[in-house]
Symmetry: C2
Subunit: 321 residues, 2 copies
């Protein structure tokens, strides 16, 4: 067992003590299972996501607190994309034997800080020694009123296609780091990459207002995630190049469009709404932009100055070269 397991468990126990009971957690770490109370009339949501060193983060680019924050963001963003409320998080961590304890402490700081902000206790998990590299697997359990989860499969021909916030900032930061080996970027200066905020309040508001017919989070890149939504709904899409809200970070010029189209790890929400519904320009404090509409068929087409080309899913493949 890794040296840090006892310390990890002690931290988790203290965290549980502060948050237990607040959001439906009956029993946390220290038993064979965590026991959660999902509100009656609600369904249970479950999502799992890896955060692997060399694939999803690099120790020379990402401070430990950033890795912890982004690890939990991946799970919370999936709950947001269903219009759900997070209830509890579970963390499985495989750590190399020689990893400094301060790295684990920093990781947990970042993880637990986002948990506190989001009202989500860390309710359990597992630890083990990793043969090489840091491996985290995050599980988030949430709830949503019965039958009200916003699925990927609900988009209908004619629906408008909307995104929250701006796209491409995270990929632009990675591009900068890749082009300038050894360069350090201060995490606070590039929060969209280092501290992405899962859009939980926005997802909940869209569900409560009954605005969205389908939804997905943009974790793999707009082109790939829109393709997923269209595939599950059995529809196509037209996206207007001029309407895509590109983030104003990184190199200027056309590259920005590629980051916005194919860059991953933005954790914004992509949703569709019926043509008759008025969608506010801002919901839960987040700007909302229409980027196109749902069409018959299966093709996703990008329109630039009136001319259309097929938009291939070329989403983010993280840091693999």
């Amino acid at each position: 067992l890794p040296l840090s397991e006892k310390k990890l468990i002690a931290r988790v126990r203290r965290n549980i003590g502060r948050l237990a009971g607040k959001r439906g957690l009956v029993t946390g770490i220290g038993d064979d299972c965590a026991v959660l109370r999902i509100p009656s009339g609600h369904e249970t949501l479950v999502t799992t996501d890896f955060s692997l060193e060399g694939i999803h983060f690099r120790r020379d680019w990402h401070p430990p607190g950033v890795v912890g924050h982004r690890c939990l963001t991946r799970g919370l963003s999936d709950i947001a994309a269903m219009g759900g409320e997070p209830v509890a998080a579970f963390l499985s961590l495989a750590l190399p034997a020689k990893l400094p304890q301060r790295w684990v402490d920093g990781f947990l700081e970042g993880f637990l800080e986002l948990g506190r902000k989001s009202g989500v206790p860390l309710a359990g998990g597992d630890t083990a020694e990793s043969p090489s590299g840091i491996l985290a697997d995050i599980v988030v359990v949430g709830s949503v009123p019965r039958g009200k989860a916003i699925l990927r499969s609900g988009a209908r021909v004619g629906d408008g296609i909307y995104v929250s916030g701006e796209l491409g900032a995270s990929a632009a930061v990675i591009d900068t780091l890749r082009r300038q080996p050894g360069k350090k970027l201060r995490a606070v200066d590039f929060p969209r990459h280092f501290y992405p905020r899962p859009r939980i309040e926005l997802g909940r508001a869209l569900r409560e207002k009954g605005l969205a017919t389908a939804m997905i989070d943009i974790s793999d890149g707009l082109s790939t995630d829109l393709a997923h939504l269209c595939e599950e709904s059995g529809v196509g899409a037209r996206v207007e190049r001029e309407m895509i809200p590109c983030a104003m970070i990184g190199d200027a010029g056309e590259a920005q469009l590629d980051f916005a189209l194919h860059g991953g790890d933005d954790y914004e929400l992509l949703f569709t709404a019926p043509p008759g519904k008025r969608v506010p320009a801002q919901i839960a404090g987040v700007p909302i932009t229409q980027i196109g509409h749902i069409t018959r068929g299966k093709n996703v087409v990008l329109i630039t100055k009136g001319a259309g080309v097929l938009l291939e899913p070329r989403g983010w493949e993280h840091f693999q070269s």
Copy 2:
């Protein structure tokens, strides 16, 4: 993304198709989250467990189907230890780039076969490329009637201590494999190690009969798991050496007692019951043996021919040398 991801997802989708709706699964893979319906008046159980190459299994000792079976067993056994019913499983798999597809197929065969036998659909998960070695993280979600989960913390002074089945068989097999490098054991000849059956029906029966005051599964070894139960309950224990049901596998003699006391991966249940309750010799088809009773204080004592020694938790540390 690993080559096998598409194939994995296709397999999982087919599996979902067969099992969806049967046990509360509303939506499985193909959305941001799985949607589960927990029966009203029930609480939700969540458990996560790693199965790591070199720690929990070895490719030269364990065929892929065995690794898949044992991976799911780890999760189901935790649900059993709460007296719960499994609802759905989630599998996160990080695989080396060069792993043969037939290994993944074999792993899933073993995993899904136990899922079918246990009525538990594979409802989602994640896949990624592993920098070294196979890493699986299993999440099982279950349910239990509200307030009826059998915790580790309920043991009271005077309660009898009971175990199901026989102990030590799994450790005896590992000992044989370790002593005779290159030796292959046929999995069907040693089912307690290669195909352990999670005690779901037994756990449920103990909860329904109201027999158990506290319960834990024996995954780390009797000495360690009994120590956990005593610590959570704030009690001590006396265990009678002659009453421990040692499995009749492996070398003869005293070594067998060490396997039964400290060997992990047995996946039997350890529980306590009030002194006045009659505990049947067999429940849900599984033999039940009283091995001692709960005492005041914090010590766990092993009694051999009337003399007591402290039983230190020396539970299974898997295959780490």
